[in-house]
């Protein structure tokens, strides 16, 4: 980067070299200044994990500010954790859906977020401003096993995405006890469409003084609606603004700085979404989103 900001690095660990490379490629599209180091396969052309290669990827991605590591399956997690323990730097292994988590983390890192924020972006567990935690915002608390210490006994049955009480939101991963099942994005939308934004539909954040909100309806005239790339552009466009911006579509509501949450809305091309912003830069935030949509997100 040409200005003096250090960005958090990312590492993608997969059993498959193609998968790791592909995820890194996809996430990198949104984050030109972020080092995303893939480490896939067993190092001998086969499926598996390679501790030394993961260790090397971690040190390559670390510019001194920290690294977030994403993984695909159980043993990749173990190798990632060992590499994190072996590293001198600040390395965070996150249990997140691999593709969406990597994209969200990359965008957060590109925005200059710190290690906690990038890790939270990956898992969809956004550190929202006080009182602004939207349980139904799609980026709410994804079913993250924290330290993965589920002994398997808490929920003995395989979590069914979109069904049952697994806290699946905005692509949170359904957990099979002990090993992550593929996070099924859209498994979250079942909860979104059922859950609605009861807590937030009242407007301002609970307990906070009422603020004047800037509202605008925006039509998504681009072909794909709020998919990954447009969502990333939206989130990035708000960098540096002092505003809390939410996007509503149907019964769902998302924090506009959360790529995962925006994607979780499932707003297709042609949809009309409502943008609601509060804070000193609310008007500017709404203007930026309106302009992005008017340009069809540069598609």
């Amino acid at each position: 980067m040409w200005w003096e900001v250090v960005v958090i690095g990312l590492v993608v660990v997969s059993h498959s070299r193609l998968l790791a490379d592909g995820v890194a490629e996809l996430a990198g599209q949104m984050a030109p200044d972020v080092t995303i180091a893939p480490s896939g396969g067993d190092g001998a052309g086969g499926l598996g994990t390679d501790f030394d290669a993961v260790t090397e990827a971690v040190s390559r991605a670390d510019s001194g500010t920290g690294v977030v590591v994403l993984f695909d399956l159980g043993s990749a997690r173990m190798v990632a954790e060992m590499a994190a323990e072996a590293s001198a730097g600040d390395v965070r292994v996150v249990d997140a859906p691999l593709v969406e988590g990597a994209v969200a983390a990359a965008v957060a890192a590109q925005r200059g977020s710190d290690l906690d924020e990038v890790a939270a972006a990956a898992t969809g567990d956004r550190a929202a401003p006080a009182g602004a935690r939207g349980e139904a915002s799609g980026g709410g608390s994804a079913g993250v096993l924290g330290d993965g210490s589920a002994g398997g006994s808490e929920d003995g049955s395989v979590g069914v995405p979109g069904g049952g009480p697994a806290g699946v939101s905005g692509g949170g991963s359904a957990e099979t006890p002990g090993d992550r099942a593929a996070g099924i994005p859209g498994g979250g939308s079942a909860e979104l469409s059922g859950g609605g934004s009861a807590e937030l539909s009242g407007g301002g954040s609970p307990g906070a003084p009422a603020e004047h909100a800037v509202r605008e309806e925006v039509e998504l005239t681009n072909e794909v609606g709020l998919h990954a790339r447009p969502a990333a552009l939206v989130a990035r466009s708000l960098t540096g603004l002092d505003a809390r911006v939410r996007v509503r579509f149907g019964p769902g509501e998302a924090d506009a700085t959360s790529v995962l949450a925006l994607m979780g809305l499932g707003a297709p091309g042609g949809a009309r979404v409502e943008v609601v912003a509060t804070g000193p830069d609310a008007a500017e935030a709404v203007r930026r989103l309106r302009d992005l949509a008017a340009r069809d997100f540069d598609e």
């Binding site: 067993d42 210490s149 002994g151 006890p177």
Partner: protein
């Protein structure tokens, strides 16, 4: 006599031979409920340990165990690498710089190994993993320390591990790749539990 670095190295060579002999069996078990790489991975890992020992045997039992740990972590591409690697690493830390290991030290090393495996893999007894073999082995080893020697401790551990491995057959897996199979894993022996029992049996045979 106590267990010197040379004896520990000899025991690891015995393990490598047993793993090579049972490679196909472990592959078959892992194909049934996993990704099929367990036998191959473990065989590659222990073969690499042997070639390092052939080059040079470190000075203490702890150093031999640590060499095994780092080699397994670097050469075994599946779950077995981090799990066995962490187990050996903890065992190495537990025995410290001692020049010889007695029965109590061996039992303590096994206990530390189990703690490491549990910390790494987060499995508990009943999850259909190597923990189902290693946990009873540690209990039996501790009980055998009083009035026993190293061979007696390892015999007791191996026997308990074999029973523990058998106990995984009727279980539904809750960790590892087999956890995706649900009920379909029932009726199959867990490959990790099997390899743990083979490993302990090899160590016991070498200690006689």
């Amino acid at each position: 006599m106590g267990c010197t670095a040379e004896r520990v190295a000899e025991a690891l060579r015995a393990v490598a031979r047993v793993v090579a002999e049972h490679r196909d069996e472990l592959v078959r078990l892992d194909r049934e409920i996993g990704d099929g790489d367990h036998g191959e991975n473990l065989n590659r890992g222990f073969a690499a340990v042997v070639s390092k020992l052939d080059a040079e045997v470190p000075a203490t039992p702890g150093a031999v165990l640590k060499l095994a740990a780092t080699t397994l972590i670097s050469t075994v591409g599946g779950a077995a690498g981090p799990l066995y690697g962490t187990g050996f690493l903890r065992a190495a830390a537990a025995v410290g710089d001692a020049g010889e290991l007695d029965a109590a030290a061996v039992a303590g090393a096994l206990r530390a190994a189990l703690e490491g495996v549990v910390a790494r893999g987060k499995a508990v007894v009943g999850d259909k993993t190597m923990v189902d073999a290693l946990t009873p082995a540690v209990g039996a080893a501790s009980a055998a320390v009083a009035g026993g020697d190293v061979a007696g401790v390892l015999d007791a551990a191996a026997e308990a591990a074999e029973r523990g491995a058998e106990s995984t057959v009727p279980l539904v897996a809750r960790k590892g790749r087999a956890s995706y199979l649900g009920e379909r894993a029932v009726g199959h022996l867990d490959p990790g539990a099997r390899s743990t029992s083979l490993l302990l049996r090899a160590l016991a045979g070498s200690a006689r």
